[in-house]
């Protein structure tokens, strides 16, 4: 086998498309329960070129998967649990015990959602705390909820959740949204949505179920409570690089470091793309673009060997 790709978001799938078309017969380690990556839990995507009317995230990823499979890549629906990058032959072990070996390795492992980091948060997951608006929104029909965050995901989710909830409060630590203009405008127009600016969640109230949140004003330090049945958290992501920690150079946040403008990591034969390298853009299209680069870089490496 010449190439193994870990990850099945836009970066991993695009790398697979390019590698498959180059005749490399790539194997894609696609995970067991997150095949297709984070876009599978999003709603409508308006900024991916080629879909003038928008496309739903799950459908986009199903189409990418179909393209990958049609071109002859093998998709393994299992989780990578160990990666060995040293030497000429790279290894990826999956949780069923299989060791996939290849001369080139592309890491497209993406990122995981960031939690608030509050003690009570874990206990209340599934009892009012959620990280997936599309999964859980319908349970909050006619009930008050809050969304934590001010980026595209948070604000887009708030607008989606307003279909169900009686009210949605967007809690943001700054005094303006980071979300794209169109996304923000839709939230401002939605009568069910209001905003708690300059505020951070310092506690989630409720023992058996979420009853509300405690907010602390970032400017004055003043604390107040806000009643809510649901808390949707969308405050960003952390790169998933645990499997290569100590093997590849990472930045302090855990992103895999690659050569500027390229996809080469600190170990020859190992390439990285998508959100696991990207601290800035984190878009489906930039991930896809970097996946193409990684496949072409890997192809160059294999040819020069």
């Amino acid at each position: 086998m010449s190439i193994v790709i870990v990850g099945s978001g836009p970066a991993g799938y695009t790398a697979a498309i390019y590698a498959a078309r180059a005749g490399l017969e790539p194997v894609v380690i696609a995970s067991s329960v997150e095949i297709g990556g984070p876009l599978t839990t999003t709603t409508e995507i308006e900024n991916y070129p080629g879909f003038p009317d928008g496309i739903y995230g799950p459908e986009l990823m199903e189409r990418m998967r179909a393209q990958v499979e049609r071109l002859g890549a093998v998709i393994v629906p299992d989780d990578a649990i160990r990666v060995a990058t040293a030497g000429d032959i790279k290894e990826v072990e999956t949780s069923d015990g299989t060791v996939h070996r290849a001369r080139a390795l592309i890491l497209a492992t993406g990122s995981a959602y960031r939690t608030l980091g509050l003690e009570c948060e874990k206990q209340l997951v599934g009892r009012g705390v959620s990280y997936c608006a599309t999964c859980d929104g319908a349970f909050y029909r006619g009930r008050p909820i809050v969304v934590v965050g001010g980026g595209d995901s948070a604000v887009g989710e708030a607008t989606f959740l307003a279909r169900f909830a009686s009210s949605v409060v967007i809690i943001h630590r700054r005094d303006q949204l980071r979300a794209a203009h169109r996304v923000a405008a839709r939230a401002f127009e939605e009568p069910k949505i209001s905003f708690a600016w300059n505020s951070v969640v310092t506690d989630i109230l409720g023992a058996e179920r979420v009853a509300g949140v405690e907010l602390t004003d970032t400017l004055t330090g003043a604390r107040r409570e806000l009643a809510a049945d649901g808390v949707f958290v969308a405050i960003g992501h952390t790169p998933r690089s645990e499997l290569v920690q100590g093997q590849l150079n990472l930045d302090p946040e855990g992103h895999i470091l690659v050569e500027p403008g390229r996809s080469h990591t600190s170990v020859p034969g190992v390439f990285a793309c998508g959100d696991v390298v990207d601290a800035i853009y984190r878009q489906a299209i930039t991930a896809a673009g970097s996946g193409a680069r990684a496949a072409l870089d890997a192809l160059g490496y294999l040819e020069s060997e």
């Binding site: 995970s31 067991s32 329960v33 997150e34 095949i35 297709g36 599978t40 839990t41 799950p58 989780d79 949780s95 997951v125 599934g126 009892r127 009012g128 959620s130 997936c132 599309t134 999964c135 859980d136 319908a138 349970f139 909050y140 058996e208 179920r209 649901g230």
Partner: protein
């Protein structure tokens, strides 16, 4: 899910509460992506425990009563019942190894 026998609000008592072996109920909905990925794993776990674990699925869109009774606000939720008692709850899609680690203390 298609791979799992369905229970409804009407059949829940007979199929789950009065069962003599542990029953794992997969609460899901057609619009939930992670649910579609975890259900085949639940089916596998059921097939690997014949006679000691029963696995079923409940569509929360069509059956509002039971999810509300158990305060389900996230899907997928996997609830394990033994003789009418909820003895373990798993929220969110997790890999098979983690599901088994959580379930195995309760199933023989």
């Amino acid at each position: 899910m298609a791979d799992l026998p369905a229970v409804t609000d009407q059949t829940f008592d007979a199929e789950v509460m009065r069962a003599t072996i542990p029953v794992l109920v997969d609460f899901w909905a057609p619009w939930c992506g992670p649910c579609r990925q975890v259900s085949p794993i639940v089916a596998q776990i059921g097939a690997e425990h014949p006679g000691t674990l029963k696995v079923v699925a409940m569509n929360v869109d069509e059956n509002p009563v039971t999810p509300q009774r158990y305060n389900i606000t996230s899907i997928p939720t996997l609830n394990l019942y033994l003789r009418g008692d909820l003895i373990h709850s798993i929220v969110g899609a997790k890999p098979k190894s983690l599901l088994l680690a959580e379930l195995s203390p309760h199933i023989t």
